[in-house]
């Protein structure tokens, strides 16, 4: 540490400094606190309009209380079950595929021989993570274009027919959504497991090898248990966000033809709340609140369950 030359007379009054250090530290804290209060807690207070009939002229605080009317309206509304089904289907499908695959990928990659090859696979697999959602969906649209896209060309090449439009088919929507997500995320999600695997004690491997354990057995009995705590935490977080289907990608992939399987809670909130002609703030807020409460409850349940089973937990 190259210490700064300081004026000699100031070295003694350390006690005075420690008092002064108080307000200076709060000065550092100030921007973040102001920010979080305005941009996180003020909107949280705004959630109350879910229980009110929002009136533009009276504002958030002046509007009339209506109790749970907005929620009841949502539960009884025509698209309710479709939206819930779509949201659950997409998120469960994502979870079932995108939780275990990065783990398998990390285990495979870690146990493989040939450092150069491993490096290349790793670097290439991280790349799609940095591509924007708009570009990912744009690429999907282009590549699945029946006439000009790669898959369209391949389809025509092998079958001689023109491929049906994948984006017009509601049944294909979940597959497109989930597998493009895997394509984008498998490398990036595996980083945390690869990191955990790199800290496995190598003596364990040596000892197991002497005892005649095969590579597969060592992956199963040494590598796999060592990433289990990390995997548990990732699972808790994933389940906690189960109902939280990212708005952007679904919205971008949506069109009138696949709407029956692509309308989820977040896109519906946007539609009833902010599109022209709708603008029902109270109703949309109620739906959003319903969603966050379920997420919050799920998170607590899974965390509790993980703790009971003796594994890692968030708190």
């Amino acid at each position: 540490m190259t210490s700064q030359p300081l004026p000699p007379g100031r070295a003694k009054n350390g006690s005075k400094k420690s008092i002064r250090s108080g307000w200076q530290m709060y000065l550092f804290l100030l921007p973040a606190v102001v920010y979080i209060v305005i941009f996180a807690y003020v909107p949280m207070a705004g959630v109350q309009i879910a229980f009110k009939e929002y009136d533009f002229t009276k504002g958030i605080w002046g509007s009339e209380w209506v109790g749970l009317d907005n929620f009841r309206r949502f539960f009884e509304s025509y698209p309710f079950w479709t939206i819930i089904r779509n949201t659950l289907l997409l998120s469960l499908y994502s979870l079932v595929i995108s939780f275990p695959l990065p783990i398998l990928f990390a285990l495979l990659l870690n146990s493989f021989i040939g450092q150069k090859f491993k490096k290349i696979v790793q670097s290439v697999s991280y790349m799609p993570h940095f591509i924007s959602t708009v570009v990912i969906v744009g690429m999907l649209v282009q590549i699945f274009n029946p006439r000009t896209g790669a898959f369209g060309s391949l389809y025509t090449f092998f079958t001689g027919n023109v491929m049906p439009d994948a984006f017009a088919n509601p049944d294909l929507f979940p597959h497109l959504y989930v597998w493009s997500g895997i394509w984008q995320g498998i490398g990036w999600s595996s980083i945390i497991y690869i990191a955990a695997l790199s800290s496995v004690d190598e003596h364990l491997h040596e000892a197991a090898q002497i005892d005649g354990a095969s590579r597969l057995q060592r992956v199963r009995h040494i590598d796999f248990p060592s990433i289990l705590p990390t995997a548990t935490i990732m699972l808790i977080l994933a389940v906690g966000n189960l109902m939280d289907i990212g708005f952007e990608k679904v919205f971008l992939m949506q069109n009138d033809l696949n709407l029956s399987s692509s309308e989820v809670i977040s896109t519906y909130v946007y539609k009833v709340g902010l599109t022209i002609g709708a603008g029902d703030f109270s109703f949309a807020t109620a739906i959003g609140l319903f969603n966050s409460v379920i997420n919050f409850v799920l998170l607590i349940i899974v965390n509790f369950a993980a703790r009971r089973m003796g594994n890692a937990s968030l708190w």
Binding site: P43, L108, G138, I233, L252
Partner: protein
């Protein structure tokens, strides 16, 4: 620290380097062949769309729109790129995105680092209270509509601040930075320098910032990529076309298929405007993604580190 450990172990990985393949037991050979096949398939599956887009962008419009491009460029030409750089919407939005990315990243890093520094000090009064104040927002938020109303009340709709202020403080990044500062800057240094009369403000600039280069690099990277790729905020809070970032224009062209062919000035290109539109899209994908992929090799060593710092303590 994490990467160093990773390197050491992977080098010493038993059976990885020291032993020749032929000396592995037979069962292990089967394992390696199988995993090699799987890993190669994954590599191809991830790389193919990337290579395809790149190849299509360098092909001629005729070749792309008649589906001749399968892997390598066919009938190499730059017409797609010419069309991209003649499009005024694309150029202006590209400039906007640059501005939002630089300004937004600067704000993010400043707020995150100052906050992380303050909360890294164990003796700070009310530290737990502030930590709860921040972490609670990770699990619960007001949601879309209340946030929209806030933006409207603050008169941020249709200003560039709508693109840089939401998400200025990432609590996750702040916790990463705080953990980093706590573990890399010893308490004795704080004590020793404060005895020497070094104020907290000066300590921040002459010790915390220089010693936190790695974590600053990670946070800068994450926020810059986030801002470059940001689409949601523009959809919500911008109606003014002249403020649109690149991603909104990308959506119009790539997904909603609105290519204004009149903007392709070249008469020859205009004649074949359908083909031009097809190849323009691929060129546009490359142009929009290139800046990120250019910095990618330089920052690669940092982001593995970043994820690891984050995983030390959530």
């Amino acid at each position: 620290m994490g990467t160093a450990r990773a390197k050491r172990t992977s080098k010493a990985e038993p059976g990885a380097k020291k032993v020749k393949f032929s000396t592995h037991p037979a069962s292990d050979k089967v394992y390696y062949v199988f995993s090699g096949i799987i890993l190669t398939s994954i590599l191809i599956a991830v790389a193919y769309p990337l290579i395809y887009v790149l190849s299509a962008s360098f092909s001629s419009g005729t070749a792309v729109s008649s589906g001749q491009v399968l892997l390598w460029p066919v009938d190499i030409s730059l017409e797609g790129y010419q069309a991209v750089f003649k499009n005024k919407d694309i150029l202006r939005s590209y400039g906007n995105t640059f501005l939002y990315t630089i300004l937004g990243t600067f704000i993010n890093v400043t707020v995150v680092m100052t906050c992380a520094y303050a909360l890294s000090r164990p003796g700070l009064r009310g530290r737990n209270f502030f930590m709860i104040l921040f972490t609670f927002t990770m699990f619960f938020s007001g949601g879309l509509i209340p946030f929209y109303m806030l933006m409207r009340n603050l008169h941020l709709i249709d200003t560039m601040w709508a693109m840089v202020l939401p998400g200025a403080l990432s609590v996750y990044n702040m916790i990463i930075a705080r953990t980093f500062i706590q573990s890399s800057i010893p308490g004795e240094l704080v004590e020793a320098t404060s005895m020497d009369g070094c104020s907290d403000i000066r300590f921040f600039f002459s010790f915390v910032l220089p010693l936190s280069k790695a974590v600053i690099a990670v946070i800068t990277l994450f926020s810059a990529v986030g801002h470059w790729n940001a689409y949601f905020n523009a959809l919500m809070y911008l109606n003014d076309r002249s403020l649109y970032p690149l991603q909104v224009i990308l959506r119009e062209i790539l997904i909603m298929n609105q290519v204004d062919v009149s903007m392709i000035m070249d008469p020859e290109l205009q004649q074949a405007n359908v083909q031009a539109a097809a190849v323009l899209k691929y060129a546009l994908i490359v142009v929009a993604t290139l800046p990120i992929l250019c910095v990618y090799p330089f920052i690669q060593k940092y982001f593995v580190k970043g994820v690891m710092i984050g995983s030390l303590k959530g």
